[in-house]
C-alpha cells in the first residue's frame, strides 16, 4: 500500500472517530445533567426566565433535533465561510457566539502547547538518550529519579512555585498574561504572538511575548518531560539491545552513528506515537497552566465558564479540544508512515 492511499485511509478512518467523539460530548453535556438551564440558574430564576432561555438557545426542541442541529452547525460551510469558525451555538451567559470566543482564545493555547511540546521533547529525548546510554550508572538512576518525581508533581504547583520565585521574590518574569499589559499585542496574523511579532519584524514585541511565555511553557514542558524521559529511555534500552545495533557496533561504526543513526532513529518511531498520545495529557495540563498564569487560552475559557455554569460554552470548548487532539493524532500517524519505510512501500 502506498503512502498516499495510507493517508487517505487514515483520514477516512478519522470520520467515524470524530462522529463518535462529538456524540459522546453531546451525551455528557446534554443528557447527563438533565436540564442545563436549570443548573445554570441554580434554581434562582423564574420558570418564565428559564423558558425564554431555552427557546433562545434552542433547548426546547426534542433531544435528537438538538443533536442534528449540533452536528449540522459544525459542518455548516456557509456559516464557517461567513464567520471564519463553525457554529457552536450561543453562550448561556453572554449570548455571544461560542465559536467566536473560542476562535479568539485558541491561538493562545496553541502557542503554549507548541512551545511546551518543544521543551518537553528536547529535555525528554536528550535525558532519555543519556540515561539509556549509561544504563544502571549513577547518572541513569539520577535521570530516572528526576523523571519519576516530575511525573508526581501537580502541574499548577510547579507553576505557582515558579511564580513565587521568579515573579514574587526575584521579579524577573511576569506571572501572567500573554504580553506585558503596557505593550500592545502584535497585529494578528497567526494569533501566535511570538510568530506574529517576528513576521512583522518587531523584536521588542517578540521578546516581550517570549518573556511572558517562558514560565508557562517551562512549567508545562518540564512536567511533560518526565513522561518523555521514561518513554525515550525504555524505547532506547529496547532498541539498543536489538541485533542490528550490535551488528552495527561489530562493523566498527562510530559511537554517535550507532546511537543516533541506528538506535534513536528506530526508537523514535514508537516515541513519536506516544508523543501523539501524550498530547491529550498536554492539553489537560494546559488548562491548569493557563489557569495558574492567567493565560487567556481555551483552558482558561473553560474554567471561567464553569463558574457561570455556561454549558453551551463548555460544550463548545470540549468539542474543540477533541478536534485538536484528533487532528494531532492524524498528523502523528501520517508522519509515522512517512518515517517508517515498512509502511512506505
Amino acid at each position: 500500500m502506498g503512502l498516499r492511499s495510507y493517508i487517505i485511509t487514515r483520514i477516512l478512518l478519522t470520520i467515524p472517530t470524530l462522529l463518535l467523539l462529538l456524540s459522546m460530548v453531546f451525551l455528557i453535556m446534554r443528557v447527563l445533567p438533565g436540564d442545563p438551564v436549570a443548573l445554570h440558574f441554580e434554581k434562582k430564576a423564574t420558570p418564565e426566565q428559564m423558558e425564554s432561555m431555552r427557546r433562545a438557545l434552542g433547548l426546547d426542541t426534542p433531544l435528537w433535533t438538538q443533536y442534528i442541529e449540533y452536528l449540522g452547525g459544525l459542518v455548516d460551510i456557509g456559516y464557517i465561510l461567513e464567520h471564519g469558525y463553525p457554529n457552536l451555538g450561543k453562550s448561556m451567559q453572554t449570548f455571544e457566539e461560542v465559536g467566536g470566543q473560542i476562535f479568539s482564545a485558541f491561538p493562545a493555547t496553541l502557542e503554549l502547547a507548541f512551545y511546551s511540546m518543544i521543551i518537553a521533547s528536547v529535555i525528554g529525548i536528550l535525558l532519555g538518550v543519556i540515561s539509556s546510554k549509561s544504563y544502571n550508572s549513577i547518572l541513569d538512576h539520577l535521570i530516572r529519579g528526576v523523571g519519576t518525581v516530575t511525573y508526581a508533581v501537580p502541574i499548577f504547583f510547579l507553576g505557582i512555585v515558579f511564580q513565587l520565585i521568579f515573579g514574587v521574590y526575584l521579579r524577573w518574569l511576569p506571572t501572567g498574561l500573554r504580553i506585558n499589559p503596557a505593550v500592545d499585542p502584535p497585529a494578528t496574523i497567526t494569533g501566535l504572538y511570538t510568530i506574529d511579532s517576528l513576521l512583522q519584524g518587531n523584536l521588542f514585541k517578540f521578546f516581550e511575548s517570549l518573556k511572558a511565555l517562558l514560565l508557562p511553557s517551562l512549567t508545562l514542558g518540564i512536567i511533560l518531560s518526565g513522561i518523555f524521559i521514561r518513554m525515550t529511555r525504555t524505547n532506547m534500552l529496547e532498541t539498543l539491545r536489538l541485533d542490528f545495533v550490535t551488528a552495527a557496533k561489530a562493523r566498527g561504526l562510530k559511537e554517535s552513528t550507532v546511537t543516533y543513526g541506528y538506535a534513536l532513529r528506530n526508537a523514535f518511531l514508537p516515541i513519536l506515537t506516544m508523543m501523539g498520545l501524550q498530547f491529550a495529557i498536554l492539553l489537560g495540563g494546559a488548562i491548569l497552566t493557563e489557569t495558574t498564569f492567567s493565560w487567556p487560552g481555551l483552558g482558561r475559557y473553560i474554567v471561567d465558564r464553569i463558574n457561570f455554569r455556561d454549558y453551551t460554552a463548555i460544550q463548545g470548548a470540549v468539542v474543540v479540544f477533541g478536534l485538536f487532539v484528533t487532528l494531532v493524532s492524524l498528523v502523528v500517524d501520517i508522519l509515522y508512515a512517512y518515517l517508517d519505510p515498512r509502511i512506505r512501500l
Binding site: 562493523r251 566498527g252 561504526l253 541506528y262 532513529r265 515498512r342
Partner: protein, 330 residues
C-alpha cells in the same frame, strides 16, 4: 605467526544472583585462511567466546582474564576507539538472525557505503557506491536492489547481505555465529556455500559457531567442543569423526541422526546441561559422564595433548588418566 591467538580467556557475567563464568580458561590459535568450528549446546559459552574476539560481550559481561591477539595486537588492552577500527575491518561478525540484523530504516546500499566510509574516510561517495555494487553483485543480488530497504528482502537474502557487509572490507577473520539457524535447509546450504566460496576467494579465516555438529563437521578444518564455558576437546574434524576422545564429544556424535544411515540407534546423554550459576565442581561434565571417577568430581582436568592437533580435557587420557585408571584396578 597465527592470525588469532587466544590465551586463558575468561569471561564473567556478574548478575544479581551471582557471577556466571561463561567462558573459562580458553586458549587456541588460528592461522590465516583456516576454518574453525565452535560447537556446543546453549549456555556452553560459544557465542560469548565469539563476541569477545571483537570485544562486544553483552552487558554485564566482562573479560576478566587472558589475552586475545589479532596480528600480535592484544585487543583486550585496546581503547574503545582503537577497537572500533578492528571491528569490521580486521575481524567481522555475522549474527544469527538476518531478519533483525539490518537497520530497518536504512537502505541496503547505505549500510555498505557507511561501512566503507567509516573505515576508509578518504573514499568518495561515488567510489563507495561502485564498490558496494561490486560486492552486492558477488552475493548474487541484483545491483538495482541496492536502494531497497531490508524488509523487502527474504531471510536468505538478508543473510547474504550480512555476509556482504562482513567481507566488504576484506577482513582477515570472519566470525559467523549460527549464521543459518534461522533459515531452511536449502537456503542454509546455499548460504554456507557462498560463505565458503567467498572465504576461498578472499583468503579469510573463518570461525563458525553452531549447535549443529553436522554443519561444523561438514564445513570446518578444526573443531572446538565447548561445554559449560570449558573447551573439552580441540581437534581436526577428520580426527574427531574417526576418533573422538572426550565422552561428551562421543555422546554428541551418538545423539545426532545421520540421514545417510539406516537403522541408526541414537543414544542420548543422560541428565541436562548444568546451571551456570552453580556449575559442578571438578570436571564440568562429570554429572552426565558414564566414566566419571572420584577425581573428576574434585579436580578440573587440564587440557592435554593426545595426538597431533588433538587436545582433550579429560582424566581418561594422559598420565593422570592412566594413574586414575590404575587406581581403579587396584
Amino acid at each position: 605467526m597465527p592470525l588469532l591467538e587466544i590465551g586463558s580467556l575468561t569471561v564473567d557475567y556478574p548478575t544479581s544472583r551471582g557471577t556466571i563464568r561463561a567462558v573459562e580458561d580458553v586458549s587456541f590459535s588460528l592461522k590465516k585462511g583456516e576454518t574453525l568450528g565452535l560447537a556446543g549446546e546453549s549456555g556452553s559459552g560459544k557465542s560469548t567466546l565469539g563476541l569477545s574476539i571483537i570485544r562486544l560481550v553483552p552487558y554485564p559481561g566482562v573479560i576478566v582474564k587472558g589475552h586475545i591477539r589479532i596480528d600480535e595486537t592484544d585487543i583486550v588492552k585496546l581503547r574503545e576507539h582503537e577497537m572500533r577500527s578492528i571491528r569490521g575491518r580486521k575481524a567481522a561478525y555475522i549474527f544469527q538472525d538476518p531478519m533483525t540484523s539490518l537497520n530497518p530504516v536504512k537502505r541496503i546500499g547505505a549500510h555498505f557505503i557507511e561501512l566503507i566510509r567509516t573505515h576508509e574516510p578518504n573514499t568518495g561517495k561515488e567510489e563507495a557506491f561502485e564498490r558496494t555494487k561490486t560486492v552486492v553483485e558477488n552475493l548474487g543480488i541484483l545491483s538495482e536492489r541496492i536502494n531497497d530497504y531490508p524488509h523487502q528482502f527474504s531471510g536468505g537474502m538478508r543473510q547474504r547481505i550480512m555476509i556482504g557487509l562482513a567481507i566488504a572490507l576484506n577482513p582477515d577473520l570472519v566470525i559467523a555465529d549460527e549464521p543459518t539457524t534461522a533459515l531452511d535447509v536449502i537456503v542454509q546450504a546455499k548460504i554456507l556455500d557462498l560463505l565458503e566460496s567467498l572465504r576461498k576467494v578472499y583468503g579469510m579465516a573463518l570461525i563458525l559457531i553452531s549447535h549443529d555438529l553436522s554443519i561444523i563437521l561438514e564445513r570446518c578444518d578444526k573443531i572446538i567442543i565447548m561445554y559449560a564455558g570449558h573447551m573439552l576437546e580441540y581437534v581436526t574434524s577428520i580426527e574427531m569423526h574417526r576418533n573422538p576422545k572426550h565422552p561428551y564429544t562421543q555422546g554428541l556424535l551418538q545423539s545426532i541422526p545421520n540421514i545417510e544411515l539406516s537403522d541408526q540407534k541414537l543414544v542420548a546423554i543422560p541428565g541436562s546441561p548444568p546451571d551456570m550459576l552453580n556449575p559442578p565442581k571438578g570436571c564440568r561434565f562429570w554429572p552426565r559422564c558414564s566414566y566419571a571417577k572420584k577425581i573428576c568430581r574434585v579436580k578440573e582436568p587440564p587440557l592435554i595433548k593426545v595426538g597431533r592437533n588433538h587436545f582433550v580435557r579429560c582424566f581418561l587420557y594422559g598420565k593422570k588418566g592412566v594413574h586414575v585408571e590404575r587406581n581403579r584396578k587396584s
